[in-house]
Amino acid sequence: MIRFDRVSKSYNVQHRLALDDVSVNLEAGEFVFLIGASGSGKSTFLRLLLREERPTSGTVHVAGKDLGRLAQWKVPAFRRQIGCVFQDFRLLPNKTVAENVAFALDVTGASRHKVAAVVPEVCQLVGLKGKENRLPDELSGGEQQRVAIARAFANKPMLLLADEPTGNLDPQTSIGIMKLLDRINRTGTTVVMATHDAAIVDTMRRRVVELAGGKVVRDQNRGVYGYAQ
């Protein structure tokens, strides 16, 4: 599904490497935590997966595609297969919940019929039924993140990238979001989640890839946040 093959990335020639010779394989349908201190390369890892950046050396394959060789005009079609969730939700403040979710479908040229069918279904899945016509600032943080997840999931992506999705949420709300991500994972969507939330990683016991200084220092199935023996 995802293959990093000796990937290095430097943003600036004089600077140290953001990613340093990273090789890692993620299988389809996996749920993977990406952990590490700030500046350890987590964001670069995700940006390479989204093809926002190209590796300085090495290759990144996603679903059999070599992203370094992917033509610029094919990037939008590629991104439609990937859902993204962020710490700051990134919702459109002047659009309702339903419109925010529909936005992902609208820009890909989905028919009105499809939008009308998918939006309520996805809203129900994330537990926002009955709040479709609210504006984002009328919702709690947890609810806003659910909207973002609904939007990310609306195109039924094969891969869901989550960059600290619980970073702005309280522990109780975070558990709800994690349950939702877990449920999406069970539909077959691969989930890669960058996080600092030790409690969540320790509770979920999924595969953990830890980065430090741009290198993979740990890759452990059913891992925990701290160093396990």
């Binding site: 005009w73 939008p76 992902a104 609208d106 040229g109």
Partner: protein, 294 residues
């Protein structure tokens, strides 16, 4: 791409950016109005040229005491001249009749002519090439019996110069205003892109293509250009109604300078609309290429 979605994005964009959109419309309007005015002036000048160069002929006025022999010699020479296309003898009576007809609406002037003796006899000479007036003037000006050779084009030169001046000034101001319209469009789309950077970021994330992201910006420019062109056409129509057909009515009634016809006003409108839409659309497209990079 559903049209309704694109339309919604455009309306949102135009409304959010209202002051700048108005600025685009106004600058486009000003430049296109002046361009239209210069085009109309060109048509009027062309029409005047056609009329005076093709219809009017050089007049060779004869002296009061010209003899019949002198007249006959002149006529033979003129008819044999390779530069002359047509020669017409106009007697005093005919000259008076023509004069009365030409200035029929100015009775004071007509009444001041008391008898046929006031207006001289003449040969009206039509040249094959009107620019060869100097040749005719030097060849026949000193002939016995000839009083003077008169070229109406020469008398009209200041008028053509005036029209040329109007045309040039209108064109220069149109170009300057056009440049201002371009810069305003550029700035407007830049602001629109900036105020929508959040949407653009999200559109990129969910996999919208360049076309989808740029289309609303380009259409915003096109709509502003179209509105500006429409306003310019409206202004020209008002100018025609109030100034050309109103204030300047008597000036045109004198018949020296022809008025712009409604046909000519409508004739320039497609150009203004096409130009306004094309320029504003192209400026928006280029700006969005720079600021809406995917």
């Amino acid at each position: 791409m559903r049209p309704r979605f694109v339309l919604q994005e455009i309306v949102t964009g135009l409304r959010r950016n209202l002051t700048m959109t108005v600025a685009v419309i106004v600058t486009v309007m000003i430049s296109l109005t002046l361009l239209g005015a210069s085009m109309l002036t060109t048509r009027i000048a062309d029409r005047m040229h056609e009329r005076y160069f093709n219809e009017l002929s050089v007049a060779i006025y004869l002296k009061q005491d010209v003899t019949a022999t002198q007249k006959a010699t002149l006529q033979t020479e003129l008819q044999a001249d390779p530069e002359v296309e047509k020669t017409l003898y106009v007697s005093r009576d005919e000259a008076l009749a023509r004069f009365k007809k030409e200035f029929a609406d100015q009775s004071d002037l007509v009444n001041s002519i008391t008898g046929p003796d006031v207006l001289p006899e003449s040969f009206q000479v039509k040249l094959k090439d009107p620019r060869n007036f100097e040749d005719i003037s030097s060849k026949y000006g000193q002939q016995p019996g000839v009083d003077q050779v008169y070229d109406p084009q020469r008398a009209l030169k200041p008028l053509f110069d005036l029209l040329d001046g109007v045309k040039t000034v209108a064109r220069i101001v149109a170009i300057v205003a056009g440049a201002a319209a371009l810069l305003t469009t550029f700035n407007t789309i830049r602001l629109a892109a900036f105020s929508r950077r959040r949407e653009i970021g999200i559109m990129r994330l969910v996999g919208a293509g360049n076309f989808t992201i740029q289309l609303p910006f380009v259409l915003e420019g096109v709509i502003a250009g179209l509105l500006g062109a429409g306003a310019a056409v409206g202004l020209l129509a008002l100018f025609k109604t109030w100034v050309l057909n109103g204030t300047l009515k008597s000036f045109f009634a004198a018949g020296v300078v022809p008025n712009a016809t409604w046909g000519e006003v409508w004739g320039v409108t497609p150009w203004l609309v096409v130009l306004g839409v094309a320029v504003a659309g192209a400026a928006s497209y280029l700006t969005s290429l720079v600021y809406v990079r995917v």
